[in-house]
């Protein structure tokens, strides 16, 4: 039996096929959702799930959440008496899921399909596979989350032919995938996303905006701001996160919430939440448009836009998705469970329990090598159907060259240094005149989206797998260098820096004001023109004085005073275009 596992940023789930149906398994508390939280107590075994989340409130320093965002990094987290890699922390979550499932089923489970964000790169996928192996699983497949959700959606529509988009906004990652469903074949046409964009970013915005009101509503003469700041300082970030999360969830249904916390109350309105959330959710728009362009489809050609991920309960997300795709999204799938259900179905496909379904997935990022001049030479373009192989022939650039160092990269940027380095390997050449020594290299992306490099021996024709040495060590050095640089600059005069930045902004704004007034100044009232002139003079005199903060405020005031002028300019441009 193979289990299907959704290893999420916030919550994880496990399921198995039972009599032809995917069933998600509950833990001993009867809960299917396991918080992806691990707590390390003073002594004894680590706690995982709800018990760990409860401990986070009391002892945040020894509690880890959202470890998924660190997958693929070479970091080690010091906890109690030892250090843990992100894979090891994830393995603890997987072990707990495994133990719960074995208890529920009364049998051993040692094979699994584990889901990852579609936009995970090679290192993040390999780390997830390692986590599964550390938890004692044979990892049968690393499956893309939106593809899994599409499977759950399409299970009862196998005869249909349709094109769908899956918009997956999770706790920590965002994916958009476009698929064609045809007679049980689920072919991914394109995928895009951001592995560092999710509900966690909304929480962070809410936490930085966090303040308490006094529940006791003291007499107006009381020194309120002081008491508020003192009490707010007493609560940990973990507790703030719990409060903002509870508020965020309730605001999907209500317009305003009040959550008491001791003598204080945390108030949040849906309007404020949406104000803070909009710029974050708006970032998904570019990814959606690019996925559509890559699939060569207009939004109108889609038959449905499926929402998954707990965060998509938020009305604002539903509105933004409707704006992007020009249609109401499909909310028939369980936001928290669709991915795990799909993973379970794919486990059924691999074990033979599910027939007539085949997934054709793609590689999300272009794969290439660094060429002469530091450019990226794409060997496998993004959105190529996997599994696949691509061959490349390398020849010696000078006579007698013994070897060539090949840097393998993943990403969409033109310059090699802007892409994610997967690793490097050395290609040996036979002694030969220039251009005569030839070695064939096979780049193979398996069904998990993980890269294997094979070198073909020109004499025997035998293929040999090449182990790449990670390039991460190099970037660790780069990170240290960046840290040193930033420390050097930390002692510079902060005021001087603020002034320089503000001065640059003023240098842009003042000519813009003159140009704007010339083009559309006649559309303003006399009062508005005088207001703008006054604010402009204030900016000019602040520059003359050379004081940082006054200049910043003067620029902000001029920005505000010219807001209507900006609107008029845009309207004028639109009008003249017709």
């Amino acid at each position: 039996m193979i289990a299907g596992i959704d290893l999420g940023t916030t919550n994880s789930l496990i399921g198995v096929m039972d009599a032809g149906f995917p069933v998600l398994l509950a833990d001993s508390d009867g809960e299917r959702l396991t918080p992806s939280v691990v707590h390390f107590p003073q002594s004894g075994e680590p706690l995982v799930g709800r018990a760990a989340a409860r401990m986070g409130t009391l002892d945040a320093a020894h509690t880890i959440s959202s470890i998924k965002r660190r997958m693929g990094e070479r970091t080690r987290l010091p906890l109690r008496d030892r250090e843990f890699s992100p894979e090891e922390i994830s393995a603890l979550i997987l072990k707990k899921l495994r133990a719960d499932a074995e208890r529920a089923l009364g049998q051993t489970i040692d094979r699994a399909v584990i889901t990852v964000p579609a936009y995970f790169n090679d290192a993040q996928r390999a780390a997830t596979k390692t986590a599964g192996e550390l938890a004692g699983f044979t990892v049968e497949r690393i499956l893309n989350e939106p593809t899994a959700a599409a499977l759950a959606y399409g299970l009862d529509k196998l005869r249909d032919r349709s094109k769908i988009a899956v918009y997956d906004f999770g706790g920590g990652t965002f994916d958009i995938s476009i698929l064609e469903l045809n007679q049980g074949v689920f072919q991914v046409l394109s995928t895009n996303g951001d592995t560092r964009l999710g509900g966690d970013d909304l929480d962070a915005a809410l936490i930085s905006d966090f303040r308490f009101d006094s529940a006791l509503r003291p007499h107006p003469s009381a020194n309120l701001p002081l008491s508020v700041s003192l009490r707010s300082a007493q609560i940990s970030d973990w507790q703030k996160r719990e409060l903002v999360n509870a508020a965020k969830h309730r605001l999907s249904e209500e317009d305003a919430v009040e959550i008491p916390h001791g003598a204080d109350v945390y108030r949040l309105t849906r309007a404020r939440l949406e104000e803070l959330a909009r710029p974050i959710i708006d970032r998904t728009r570019a990814h959606c448009l690019r996925a559509l362009a890559d699939a060569n489809l207009a939004p109108g050609e889609l038959d449905a836009v499926i929402l998954v991920g707990g965060q998509t309960r938020m009305p604002l997300i539903r509105r933004i998705v409707a704006e992007i795709f020009g249609r109401e999204p499909d909310t028939t799938q369980h936001p928290d469970e669709a991915v795990a259900t799909g993973a379970t179905l794919q486990a059924g496909v691999l074990s033979g329990a599910v027939q007539n379904i085949v997934l054709l997935d793609v590689t999300p990022l272009s794969l290439g090598i660094e060429t002469f001049g530091g450019l990226m030479n794409v060997i496998i373009p993004r959105n190529s159907t996997i599994p696949l192989k691509a061959g490349e022939l390398f020849t010696n650039a000078v006579a007698g060259q013994q070897a060539m160092l090949i840097h393998v990269l993943q990403g969409e940027r033109e310059l090699a240094k802007d892409n994610w380095p997967l690793g490097q390997f050395e290609l040996p050449f036979e002694p030969a005149p220039k251009g005569q020594a030839r070695v064939g290299v096979q780049f193979e992306i398996d069904a998990n989206g993980i890269l294997h490099v094979l070198v073909r021996d020109t004499k025997t024709g035998a293929e040999k797998k090449v182990e790449m040495t990670s390039a991460v060590d190099v970037s660790d050095e780069a990170v240290e260098k960046m840290l040193e640089d930033s420390l050097e600059h930390a002692f510079e005069d902060v005021n001087a820096r603020i002034f320089t930045e503000a001065k640059l902004k003023a240098d842009e704004l003042i000519p813009a004001v003159s140009a704007g007034l010339e083009k559309a100044g006649d559309l303003l009232s006399e009062t508005e023109r005088v207001e703008i002139q006054t604010r402009q003079q204030e900016v000019e005199s602040a520059i003359a004085i050379g004081a940082a903060q006054p200049l910043k405020s003067a620029i902000a005031a001029l920005d505000a005073a010219t807001q209507r002028l900006a609107t008029l300019l845009i309207e004028k441009a639109m009008r003249e275009a017709r």
Partner: protein
């Protein structure tokens, strides 16, 4: 690369119905894919063959490689029919790139608003150029369908069509990317 047409049991030909090809790819994947108990090597071949056959320019290139490789050597330069289009495509692309650079450099809402008029001009130039390329592509594909029945008698023209389709495909992709960039900064509500 082995004969992609043979892998799909199709006769060699320049024109294929896209939907029929995709259906056939799906039908064969359902049994050849390793997850469905198929042979990984055979699926990889099918996948690679589908990738070639589904794109008209790649398909033509493959056909010429099999039938008349000597004709491909000359196909590198821009066909005369596209020479004047090339200038317009380059101008539209460069104009758009320069505009995007200035727009990114503008930090205040007012400075961006001043660029709104040019934004409209750039967008419409881009749309006109793209529409023109789409027309040229449709025309080339229609010609391909006409040549299909007796294609062996038209190999030199097929080589020209291959060059045309490759350039058009590349330019359309470039300009679509520019259009995407222009759309992404055109959120006028948030600029004001």
């Amino acid at each position: 690369m082995p004969d992609a047409f043979a892998i799909f049991d199709l006769p060699r030909r320049p024109w294929l119905d896209a939907t029929a090809l995709r259906d056939e790819f799906h039908r064969r994947s359902a049994t050849l894919h390793p997850d469905a108990g198929g042979d990984g090597e055979k699926f990889a071949q099918l996948n690679a063959a589908h990738e070639i056959l589904r794109q008209p320019d790649a398909r033509l290139r493959h056909l010429l490689e099999l039938e008349a490789p000597e004709l491909l050597a000359h196909a590198q330069k821009i066909p005369p029919a596209l020479a004047d289009r090339f200038m317009r495509v380059a101008a539209a692309g460069q104009g758009c790139a320069a505009f995007l650079t200035r727009h990114r450099a503008a930090t205040s809402p007012l400075a961006r608003a001043l660029l709104a008029a040019e934004h409209v001009t750039q967008s419409s130039t881009l749309e006109t150029t793209l529409a023109d390329l789409d027309t040229a592509q449709t025309k080339a594909l229609a010609r391909l369908e006409i040549l299909d029945p007796g294609w062996r008698a038209h190999l030199p023209e097929l080589a020209t069509l291959h060059a045309e389709l490759s350039y058009l495909e590349k330019w359309i992709a470039q300009l679509r990317e520019s259009r995407l960039q222009l759309t992404l900064i055109s959120n006028l509500k948030s600029e004001v």
